[in-house]
Amino acid sequence: MTFEKNGEPLLRVEHLTKEFPVESGVFGRRANAKRVHAVEDISFDIYPGETFGLVGESGCGKSTTGRTIMRLHNPTSGKVIFDGKDVAKMKKRELKEMRRNMQYIFQDPQASLNPRMTIGEIVSEPLIIHNVMPDAKKRMDYVRELLDTVGLNPEHINRYPHEFSGGQRQRVGIARAFALHPKLIICDEPVSALDVSIQAQVLNLLSDLQKQFGTAYLFIAHDLSVVQHISDRVAVMYLGHLMEYSDWKTLYDTPYHPYTQSLLSAVPIPDPDVQRSRKRIILRGDPPSPIDPPTGCPFHTRCPIAKDVCSKDVPELREVAPGHFCACHFAEPNPIKTSSVDLGTK
């Protein structure tokens, strides 16, 4: 099943770049201070109702991308067009209006819920801020309904976050994000703090809610199997660059980029037979620092097929197959056998 693109994209990210200055010197920032190149010239789009997965190792800039799209950081350059308007140029009032339609789910449900507010207050806060339900009684009924939708007991509306388990807290965060029925939710590692059995509950909940409300997700995670499971299209980031993106099936079946190939082959598969028989590419060394990124292709320092040109020219993100983009000078399809059989669930 591939996702049908209908109409205009909901979100268009064009040449987005975000750099952070590294503070140095006694007198604060210097004009020529070093910069962390967190996000470098990335472009992609998200269609209504779609799940766009963003994967990469820690420090590759995937969270910064999510935060910059919502303008929790101001972009250094580039455009973020949401619903026809450029988020990067919005004034405060427009931003507030925009955030009615774009919400965020955070990784750590412990840190992202105010410990001094009841979950009823937490979930109703967006409704109060945007003044969509002025009647308090109605609002509380709606919050109860929402809690029920995300699988929490509506009677627990007056409890505090510490009275819930990790998975339940994440459900509160999800209820809060869905309170305004936004068009896009940025999910930043929503399940990585949870145990597998709880993780599956939350992933199913996110899929169900998407079906119910038609929300689009930007799903940021480091776990490739989770991203594959939930996403319609998947993009791979490395050192601030978008290396490759495509629909989930193509990306996992026929990855073009050597980084995607090695990333996929590094993921251990919970099936000893497959694990013993498959070929693995083990990368040497660590990712370079984003303060002092290598010239040319960001991956050339660890790339098994790097040539001279890789250290000189930055490869363009080009369409190697319909809907499949890859930034590599030598991109060629090289399917990796990830699993030999189809594991359907009973």
Partner: protein, 369 residues
């Protein structure tokens, strides 16, 4: 730094043969409870397994299932009180570790059984150089001089793949990346050539590409030294990669123990089934929703009366809520703590499909056609 005591009765256990009929490490119905103000926490409740040289045991379970506490108990690293051994035994080369004095245990730790931890930053001392920290164990256990130990440290760092070891040995932990620090931890653990290496979530804090490097390194080192590994992890993928034997833990007790193939292809316990169903699979054509385990793991203070998994088990009957199940053994030593483990029909009906069972079915169908 305590010096090794010169004692005539001292026996280097590592060089002793494993007594006839026993294993390198035998954990026998080990029980360790914490006595807290809130009540008794049954952190380790009847853990049994055996381990031989060259083998890798994978311990899997969710957070709070007692995976780490079990190995800390074996190492004698649990504060007593609040902890207390309530029964069972741990035998290393036929000798009970639980009956050893603190001095004897100190000799075991690092020398015979070494441990690496999840977060290499917090387990390395930030104010000492890597070389000094590597030397500590060798000077203590092997009686090396400073120079000898430093020389060996450089060798060890080279062995675990740290470039320019002569220089790096003088560096401090913060000058290393996460993957490099974990390599240092492995070098440190292997410094005295231990029999058993306990690795507590060694790759959880690392990225997948670095994880693959570290796992490869641990396997290489095992091939070279022939040591046994106890790999504690929550990632079924990692155990599928490394383990010969697997113990699945839930609420302080092992619910199932068997060879890797048995656990992945012939799992017998409903919790193991739930775990296997919960992980996103490498699906080829279609996406189907995951089958999560309902509810949350129980609190260990107010543990359920019967089978600890009964409140979340979709197949639970009255007996499950009333009585704790006894382990059911198969002929191969594979055991399960479930009341219905002796019912092959029940297991066959509810087992999740695996790559092997699907292949078998396909072959059977092909034969008919």
């Amino acid at each position: 730094m305590a010096r090794k005591k010169k004692n005539d009765n001292w026996v280097e256990l590592k060089n002793q043969p494993v007594p006839e009929g026993s294993h390198l490490l035998e954990v026998d119905n080990l029980k360790m409870y914490f006595h807290t103000q809130d009540g008794v926490v049954k952190a380790v409740d009847g853990v049994s397994y055996t381990l031989d040289r060259g083998e890798t045991l994978g311990v899997v379970g969710e957070s709070g299932s007692g995976k780490s506490v079990t190995s800390l108990t074996i190492m004698g690293l649990i504060d007593m009180p609040p902890g207390r051994i309530e029964g069972g035994d741990v035998r290393y080369r036929g000798k009970s570790l639980l009956k050893m004095s603190e001095a004897e245990m100190q000799h075991i730790r690092g020398n015979d059984i070494a441990m690496i931890f999840q977060d290499p930053m917090t387990s390395l001392n930030p104010v000492y150089t890597i070389g000094r920290q590597l030397s500590e164990g060798m000077r203590l256990h092997l009686g090396y001089s400073k120079e000898q130990a430093m020389k060996r440290s450089i060798e060890l760092l080279t062995m675990v793949g740290i470039p320019n070891a002569e220089q790096r040995v003088k560096d401090y932990p913060h000058e290393f990346s996460g993957g490099m620090r974990q390599r240092v931890m492995i070098a440190m653990a292997l410094a005295c050539e231990p029999d058993i290496l306990i690795a507590d979530e060694p790759t959880t804090a690392l990225d997948v590409t670095i994880q693959a490097q570290i796992i490869e390194l641990m396997q290489e080192m095992q091939e070279k030294n022939g040591n046994a590994i106890i790999m504690i992890t929550h990632d079924l993928g990692v155990v599928a990669d490394v383990a010969d034997k697997i113990m699945v833990m839930y609420a302080g007790s092992p619910v199932e123990f068997g060879s890797a193939d048995e656990i992945f292809y012939e799992p017998m316990h409903p919790y193991t089934w739930g775990l296997i169903r919960s992980i996103p699979k490498q699906i080829k054509d279609k996406k189907s929703p995951l089958t999560p385990i309902k509810g949350n793991p129980p609190s260990l203070v107010h543990a359920p009366k019967g089978c600890p998994f009964s409140p979340r088990c979709p197949y639970a009957k009255d007996i499950c809520h009333q009585k704790k199940p006894e382990p059911f053994y198969t002929s191969t030593g594979h055991y399960t703590k479930c009341h219905f483990a002796n019912d092959p029909d029940f297991i066959k009906r509810n087992q999740p499909p695996t790559s092997r069972s699907i292949k078998r079915e396909a072959a059977a169908k092909g034969g008919e056609a």
